[in-house]
């Protein structure tokens, strides 16, 4: 260095300041600019001390969040201090980013709850109820059950404590007293009304299986009803069962890395899949192209190469136009061999469909099957057919559902086509053609939902007196892709905006430029061709939470099917909405359903349950015919939505509990007294009209649900769509409903209408939580739960392939207890009361026809035959619910709770149609868990502690026990005749123990429980086993379905992928019209996407999240809408519609599109919510503005993949079609 040293300031100042160097031991730089110290820094001890800690404990966060991230919880002096993410996930390979660290700001803020003032520390009971109970107990000689009965049978008393719900006044109670009251209520309800009047709700088991199983097992063992959540949350993509016969199966996030084209469609990955978003940002560096579809400038748009800002709810139009381009350019103008081959092998496109005359034209009727060909084979009606291109002959290919449930199908349930080359199209020179009429919904008459009709042509063949064509030919007609020589009306090209499904057509609906859509569709397909199927679409609540989400999804999924991307690593759909992949499914299901002791459990579709029991059915403004196509037969004419539910229940499609207007225990006794079998007796009573389905009169007191226990959930502050209806009708508390009930002409015909709608149906609401939520506020009994850092459990997710543990960093403080311990204790208290009073009884359980069981092929052809209408005989299990008598020993509930029952060996575990007797697993568990001595569970493995439950779950499941995986695959090998067991055989001796999961996340074993393979260290992608091993999908054809030929699907015009707009509630229900405004208020679309600052309602009350957001309830709105009503950023506003009212701050942003507001899910009423200006009552939650809207097709059952399964098929609790009025309110707020 030669230059002269540079100096600071002037020489005088430098001299002055340099004196500083004499004051310190340390070295000051020659220019007096910097001071360097070495060692001995006593002044820094504070930070070293703050960092020190005694223990680091592995745990995670259960339920609510799908992340399943493993965390380090730091403990100092017995106090939980904070958490940081674990980084010890096993590697996913040298050429991939790893799963580390996994976590998000919400999870990082969790420990705040431990000692926060919102922590529930003791059991609480509402004071007014507790006083009544104590007094009643004295009056009834200390008998808790009689005391409880005296309260709930007294109308004045009911009114008193129910109207106090939600209004404070909770008082501390002892655990003994609280559990005694809960047990008394349950015993009384079972005795007086029946066990199916006791219900339990707890969602998403995957993220804390033992905690979920504890209460589900208890509820199931006493004969209560467990309510589904996946469909109720509207997270179930109903298109998945429709297309694949699978609830949902998606790639792990590390498989995004393998995609070379990624569309994030209504799926805001950085916000909702925070721990995994890096796979997307990083894959871009590998040359992945990224496209987003979102109405707002969402967080993920920052990463996108292109942003398609489609209007909310119009995604189906965009997808249909992309499908149009792909079919035209990659199937008709040019045939891509990979696409065509894939379509023939793995989709229903080559299958034959008969046409039915409709006026002077035709409509698609149904799949042609072996029976139609006159073949006298087993299950002939369940064996669809196709034509061999080589021979021109019809062929009944293996693999359809007709080969799945019978002896003759052994070895034939597979996708092996042998030499058969399926004929995709009838189109050929000289082929006969006809016109087909197809529904379209983009241009409805008078703004109704019914749409209109478009006439197009298809090539056909004649088979006997039938006209047949292929699904493919009909699909081209549906998409409007013209071919030479076909009759009908076709568009003039991509720029024909009048022809449905062209790019120009969609532009008018979505606002996305036609040329852009054309180009993206082409790129997407071209990438699939170039990469061997590595085009992927992630889907989220933005596309899934709509009334017609099934049509949106089918249109989008068609894109990955047509391009051969499904079942390929790096390709296919990737649905990330409320994932709930409990990977060790078999073990969890055994324990949670109590199936090891008694079967079947009672399980009901949550949406149906709440729709009925919160009386939301009384507020429907439009009926089922509103969503039917003019091409339909009119079967929905005059039917209210509730009528379709009643019909679906009595035909055995969908479950309903309470089932009958008689106690099912009484029913069993009555049958016995009559000397009849229960099924015969029930049929007789139904026919004689002496017995009614509860669904036919849900407002009758004998049909009320009576006791509800909620744990791991915030039903009333988060997930409950139609929140105010819950409060008003179910609970009898204050509800802010502001809409009229269904007008007389539109009321149900088969569901009794009582002039006076009941308020306060539920006798007792019990909840367990570690924090105070709306559910806690409204509960009669609130029990203090342990947090995730205070108990043992296991967690898994579909986002990653690991199972890992929860561990107690500290013991539950104050009087908190783990869910597991609470329900074990509850069982003991219950048994003590119930044993002497209820004894051993028989209980008639009504069951729908179930998916993946032989009953899924009970109603052939998708033909609807209603025994009530005399169209068939009521045959339990075929044309009406199956009826099973279950024996319940109410003196043995506690013993059964704590031990693994004998059905595991004697009947076997049953999952997805695979039955495995597991004596070896039981022997193993006896050794590691120990056995019970004495009583009904004598000699059985103990599951008394949560750790033992975890051990049992892991032992009984294929993903964690290699022997079980191999056994299941061998079972499947017999059925399919294909080689499968090799996928697990190298892991046959591997057994993941709970201790393993405590030490480090454990990668799962490839198992028949799921459809993808991790074999050889590959990333999980769904349906790779189907594609690579010719294992059929669990559908009618065994292939992936474009065509759904059920009567009700035809009635609503959704046999094929189509576009249905968001419900026009202004036209069909008298709602205000979006866009209408004056100076005071503006009408807008109301959406509730997932929040950056909470996981549902959890964390939205957390001080850290509140500090980083706006600190209270807020609604995001566009600057345009805000300007219309003079609202500035952070002003107080009120959002109001017929369902309720919300008070919130406005967050005004140019990121938002005009005409749409977001109230991020989920804002509870607990923090910072003022009173409503007009009523003085507390403002509502985000779901105060929503209401359930049933879609009839979600109720279909008894027909292959369209059959009921718990959380598999059922009406969705959709909420995105809602509109609200926003007004600026007084800026003076009261709390």
């Amino acid at each position: 260095m030669t230059e002269t040293p540079t100096r600071i300031d002037d020489p005088f100042v430098d001299a002055l300041i340099s004196a500083r160097s004499f004051l310190t031991r340390s070295e000051t730089s020659p220019d007096h600019r910097a001071v360097h110290y070495v060692g001995g820094r006593e002044g820094d001890v504070f930070y070293r001390d703050r960092w020190s800690h005694d223990r680091v404990v592995r745990s995670t966060h259960g339920v609510n969040c799908t992340g399943s991230c493993s965390w380090k919880v730091y403990v100092k002096d017995g106090i939980i201090t904070w958490e940081t993410q674990q980084t010890d996930y096993p590697s996913v390979g040298a050429d991939s980013p790893e799963y580390e660290p996994r976590g998000c700001p919400r999870g990082a803020a969790f420990s705040w709850y431990t000692y926060s003032p919102t922590r529930v520390r003791y059991p609480y009971i509402r004071g007014v109820l507790l006083e009544m109970y104590r007094a009643a107990k004295v009056a009834h000689g200390g008998d808790p059950v009689a005391a409880w009965a005296s309260i709930v049978d007294d109308d004045a008393k009911r009114r008193t404590y129910m109207s106090a719900r939600g209004k404070g006044g909770l008082v501390r109670a002892s655990w003994d007293e609280a559990l005694e009251m809960v047990a008394a209520a349950q015993v009384h309800t079972i005795d007086r009304w029946g066990p199916d009047r006791v219900a339990g709700f707890s969602p998403i088991p995957a993220m804390s299986m033992a905690s979920h199983a504890a209460g589900a097992r208890y509820t199931s063992l006493i004969g209560g009803t467990m309510l589904s959540f996946y469909d109720w949350y509207c997270d179930l993509p109903i298109a998945s069962p429709q297309i694949w016969g699978d609830q949902t199966d998606v790639p792990e996030s590390a498989d995004w890395w393998n995609a070379s084209y990624l569309i994030m469609w209504g799926s805001n990955i950085p916000t909702t899949r925070t721990p995994d978003a890096h796979f997307m940002t990083e894959a871009r560096y590998k040359g992945q192209k990224v496209v987003t579809v979102s109405p707002d400038y969402a967080d993920n748009t920052k990463f996108a190469d292109e942003w398609l800002p489609a209007h909310p709810g119009t995604d189906g139009a965009l997808a249909m136009a992309m499908g149009h381009v792909i079919l035209r350019e990659f199937y008709v103008q040019r045939q891509v061999p990979m696409f065509v081959d894939y379509s023939k092998r793995y989709t229903d496109l080559p299958f034959l469909v008969s046409l039915r005359a409709h006026g002077e034209s035709f409509v698609p009727d149904r799949f042609v099957n072996a029976a139609d060909l006159g073949q006298d084979v087993e299950a002939a009606e369940w064996k669809p057919v196709l034509i061999d291109a080589a021979t021109g002959e019809t062929v009944v290919p293996d693999g359809s559902i007709g080969f799945r449930h019978n002896e003759s199908g052994m070895g034939h349930w597979n996708l092996d086509l042998g030499d058969v080359d399926p004929l995709l199209t009838m189109h050929a020179d000289g082929a006969e053609t006809v016109t087909v009429d197809l529904p379209r919904f983009d241009a409805g008459e008078n703004g109704t939902e019914r749409g209109s009709v478009i006439r197009r042509g298809v090539p056909v063949r004649r088979m006997g007196d039938r006209l047949v064509t292929t699904v493919y030919d009909l699909l081209l007609a549906q998409y409007g892709v013209a071919r030479d020589g076909l009759p009908g009306t076709w568009g003039a090209g991509y720029d024909d905006a009048d022809a449905p499904y062209t790019p120009a057509w969609q532009e008018e609906i979505t606002s996305v430029p036609a040329a852009t859509v054309e180009r993206i569709a082409r790129e997407f397909a071209q990438n699939a061709e170039d990469s061997g199927g590595r085009s992927m679409i992630t889907l989220g609540a933005g596309t899934n939470h709509w009334y017609h989400s099934d049509t949106i999804y089918r249109a989008i999924i068609s894109l990955v099917l047509l391009t051969g991307c499904q079942g390929k690593n790096g390709g296919g759909w990737a649905h990330y909405v409320g994932q709930e992949k409990a990977r060790p499914f078999t073990g969890w299901a055994q324990l949670a359903f109590g199936a090891d002791w008694s079967r079947p459990p009672r399980q009901m579709a949550g949406t149906s349950f709440w729709y009925l029991h919160t009386d939301q059915w009384r507020y429907d403004a439009f009926g089922a015919d509103e969503v039917a196509t003019p091409l339909g037969t009119g079967r929905f004419t005059g039917q209210a939505m509730a009528d379709t539910l009643a019909q679906a229940v009595r035909m055995g499609w969908t479950p309903s509990y309470p089932t009958f207007d008689r106690n099912p225990i009484t029913l069993a006794a009555d049958a016995e007294a009559a000397g009849m079998s229960a099924p015969d007796y029930v049929v007789q009573e139904l026919k004689a009209d002496r017995l009614k389905f509860s669904v036919e009169d849900p407002d009758a007191p004998e049909n009320f649900p009576r006791v509800l226990t909620v744990w791991r959930a915030n039903l009333l502050g988060s997930s409950g769509k139609g929140n105010e209806y819950f409060l008003h009708h179910l609970l009898g508390a204050d509800g802010a409903i502001d809409g009229g009930q269904t007008p007389e002409g539109k009321r149900p015909k088969t569901v009794a209408w009582r002039d006076e709608a009941p308020t306060g149906k539920l006798d007792l609401l019990v909840s367990l939580d570690f924090r105070m939520t709306s559910t806690g506020l409204f509960s009669d009994v609130l029990l203090p739960a342990a947090t995730w850092y205070e108990k043992y459990d296991i967690s898994s997710t579909d986002m990653h392939p690991f199972i890992h543990a929860f561990n107690a960093a500290i013991s539950p403080p104050w009087q908190c207890r783990s869910d597991h311990d609470v329900f074990q204790k509850m069982a003991a208290v219950f048994t003590e009361l119930a044993g002497p009073r209820l004894g051993v009884v028989k209980d008639v359980v009504a069951l729908p026809q179930q998916h993946d069981t032989p009953s899924e092929i009970s109603q052939p052809g998708g033909r609807v035959l209603d025994w009530r209408a005399g169209e068939c005989e009521p045959v339990p299990g075929r044309t009406m619910p199956n009826l099973v008598v279950v024996e319940r020993d109410y003196s043995a509930i506690a013993a059964k709770m704590g031990a693994l029952g004998p059905n595991v060996e004697s009947i076997g575990t049953v999952v997805k149609g695979i039955t495995l007797r597991q004596p070896k697993s039981v022997e193993h568990l006896k050794k590691v868990n120990g056995t019970v001595v004495g009583g009904v569970a004598d000699g059985r493995p103990r599951i008394e502690t949560a750790e033992q439950v975890c051990e049992a779950i892991l032992t009984l499941s294929g993903v964690s026990n290699g022997a079980v995986a191999v056994a299941g695959f061998e079972f499947l090998e017999k059925r399919t005749g294909q080689v499968l067991a090799d996928l697990a055989r190298d892991n046959e001796g591997k057994h993941i123990t709970f201790a393993d999961t405590q030490s480090r996340p454990q990668p799962v074993i490839t198992s028949w429980e799921w459809s993808g393979s991790e074999h050889g260290g590959r990333r999980y992608s769904p349906f790779t086993i189907n594609v690579e091993r010719k294992k059929p999908w669990h559908t009618l054809t065994g292939r992936q379905h474009f065509f759904l030929d059920h009567d009700w699907m035809a009635e609503v015009g959704e046999c094929f992928p189509t576009y249905r707009p968001p419900l026009n509630l202004a036209a069909i229900a008298g709602y205000p019209t979006i866009g209408d405004h004056d100076e005071q208020q503006v009408v807008v679309r109301y959406l509730t996407p997932h929040s950056k600052w909470s996981i549902h309602s959890e964390y939205q009350d957390n001080l850290f999240m509140l500090a980083l957001s706006r600190g209270g309830p807020d609604i995001w709105m566009s600057r345009e809408d805000a300007e219309k009503i003079g609202v500035r950023d952070n002003d107080w506003i009120e959002a109001h519609n017929r369902n309720g009212i919300v008070v919130a701050r406005a967050v005004v942003s140019h990121r938002m599109p005009e005409g749409t507001v977001y109230m991020y899910h989920a804002k509870d009423r607990t923090v910072g919510v003022p009173r409503v200006e007009k009523t003085g009552k507390r403002g509502g939650i985000h779901n105060s503005l929503t209401r359930l809207l049933l879609k009839p097709t979600h109720l279909i059952g008894g027909y292959a993949q369209l059959s009921y399964g718990f959380n598999y098929y059922g009406p969705t609790g959709n909420q995105r079609d809602e509109v609200t009025t926003i007004r600026r309110r007084s800026q003076e707020v009261q709390y």
Binding site: W51, P105, G168, D305, R1128, R1178
Partner: protein, 458 residues
């Protein structure tokens, strides 16, 4: 070469930042979750465009942070000559007020459980953590997150200077990115220079800037002097506190909390070797736009035998030299020149570096007549970026657009080059050549930015 010192540095790849704020929460939980520092976030994340935290901290006309170069070529603290500051220690006029940060609040949560019977649902209402009284929330630590209210206040973002005309706050033209910030642990820290008590210092072994809590007298000159506003005043202890680069973790071989918990995996930590005697000269170059190059020049090549020899002479241990040789931050900042210093014009020689975000948008391209289907255009072109490049230049290069442009082109070239590999095609070496690199370079960049294993990040 005169004297070699080691400096720990961090690189944040803004192109990967998802704005989740996990870093902020884990940092706050660990370090500032206590009274006196309720409003303090050693690590915070800003949505840009936006005002930042504290508000408009980059407006040095107002806050007078950092250094300025005098006409005579000397460096002077912007807050004034030292005499001037010494006379003001009892009334520091350039301190952000609580309003400029935010008034921290909590809620009376206890009401939810303890409320007596009332006429409606109990609620926890906001209470000021400063006064303990009821409060209405009007500003927070991250108020304009995701562009909330930005159309009303965004024009106050100091980084819009000079590009006001090209930025419109409309949906179609919306853009944003996130800027996570910690203390810069500058080579030429204005806070240290400003401290009258000699309480602030750089650790000799790693250059971490700390406040000696025993020595701090609470003058708060450091708060004013820091142009990044990353020194805070603990109103309970009356002393300054700041990001410590998690030295208690670093000393036992763990990365900082913010880095390890960053789920975007965008933070890299490593050592620089630098010529300590060149710092002041580099910080004093005349043109603001030369500061970036000058700062790079101070950093020494850890593989240069002369540098290694001098480092040993200066007492730097071999394992530290080895760490510097493997340093990802050196690779990203100097070898590939992808990471840029935040506000070099403050002349503090900040040691937290940022890779600017790509924000490609092909529709802008397509609309401008380009054929976006050309392979080269699959990802859009740099001149069609959604984020105005001038904004990034104001942030990272004292307004020098071509430097940012060069970084973005190298990133874009990496994507294009890798796409061929991804699809099993022959690589196109001309892509690498066009940005002055080789295919191997692009592949190494890709491994470091995308695969980014734990071991290669820290």
């Amino acid at each position: 070469m005169t004297r070699v010192m080691a400096q720990v540095g961090m690189v944040m790849n803004l192109d990967k930042c998802i704005g989740c704020h996990t870093c902020s929460v884990t940092c706050k939980q660990t370090w500032t979750n206590r009274t006196g520092v309720e409003y303090v976030w050693f690590n915070n994340v800003e949505t840009r465009p936006g005002l930042g935290y504290p508000k408009r901290h980059e407006d040095q006309e107002q806050w007078k942070g950092g250094w300025v170069r005098t006409k005579r070529g000397r460096l002077k603290l912007r807050s004034g000559g030292r005499i001037r500051r010494l006379t003001q220690i009892f009334s520091n006029p350039k301190l952000p007020s609580l309003d400029d940060y935010y008034e921290p609040w909590t809620y009376d949560y206890d009401t939810l459980i303890s409320s007596p019977a009332m006429d409606t649902t109990p609620v926890a209402r906001p209470k000021s953590m400063i006064t303990g009284k009821d409060t209405e929330i009007r500003w927070g630590a991250n108020w304009d997150d995701d562009l909330g209210g930005t159309h009303e206040r965004g024009h106050l973002d100091p980084m819009l200077k000079g590009i006001e005309d090209s930025v419109v706050f409309e949906l179609e033209k919306a853009f944003m990115f996130y800027l996570p910030r910690i203390c810069e642990h500058c080579l030429n820290p204005a806070c240290v220079a400003a401290c009258p008590s000699g309480a602030m210092y750089k650790r000799s072994e790693d250059g971490i800037v700390l406040v000696d809590q025993d020595r701090c007298r609470g003058w708060r000159m450091c708060v004013s002097g820091c142009p990044y506003k990353k020194v805070y005043f603990n109103h309970k202890t009356g002393k300054a506190e700041k990001c410590t680069f998690c030295y208690p973790r670093l000393e036992v071989g763990q990365p900082t909390v913010c880095a390890e918990t960053c789920v975007g995996r965008l933070r890299y930590i490593g050592l620089f070797l630098y010529d300590v005697d060149k710092v002041l000269a580099a910080a004093s170059v005349e043109d603001d736009k030369d500061l970036y190059e000058a700062q790079l020049d101070v950093l020494l090549d850890p593989n240069d035998p002369e540098v290694v020899a001098q480092a040993r002479r200066d007492g730097i241990a071999d394992d530290w030299i080895e760490a510097a040789q493997k340093s990802p931050v050196y690779t990203l900042a100097k070898k590939y020149r992808l990471a840029l210093p935040l506000h070099p014009e403050y002349r503090t020689m900040p040691m937290v570096w940022y890779i600017p975000p790509l924000s490609p948008v092909v529709d802008a391209l397509a609309n401008s007549g380009h054929d976006a289907e050309d392979a080269g255009n699959l990802f859009g072109a740099i001149d069609a970026l959604r984020i105005p490049i001038g904004y990034l230049a104001n942030l990272l290069t004292a307004g020098d657009v071509p430097v940012v442009d060069g970084v973005l082109k190298r990133l874009a070239a990496m994507r294009s080059y890798m796409r061929d590999i991804n699809l099993g095609r022959d690589t196109d070496e001309s892509i690498a050549e066009a940005v002055g690199l080789t295919g191997e370079d692009l592949y190494e960049m890709y491994r470091l930015l995308a695969i980014a294993k734990y071991e290669s990040r820290y």
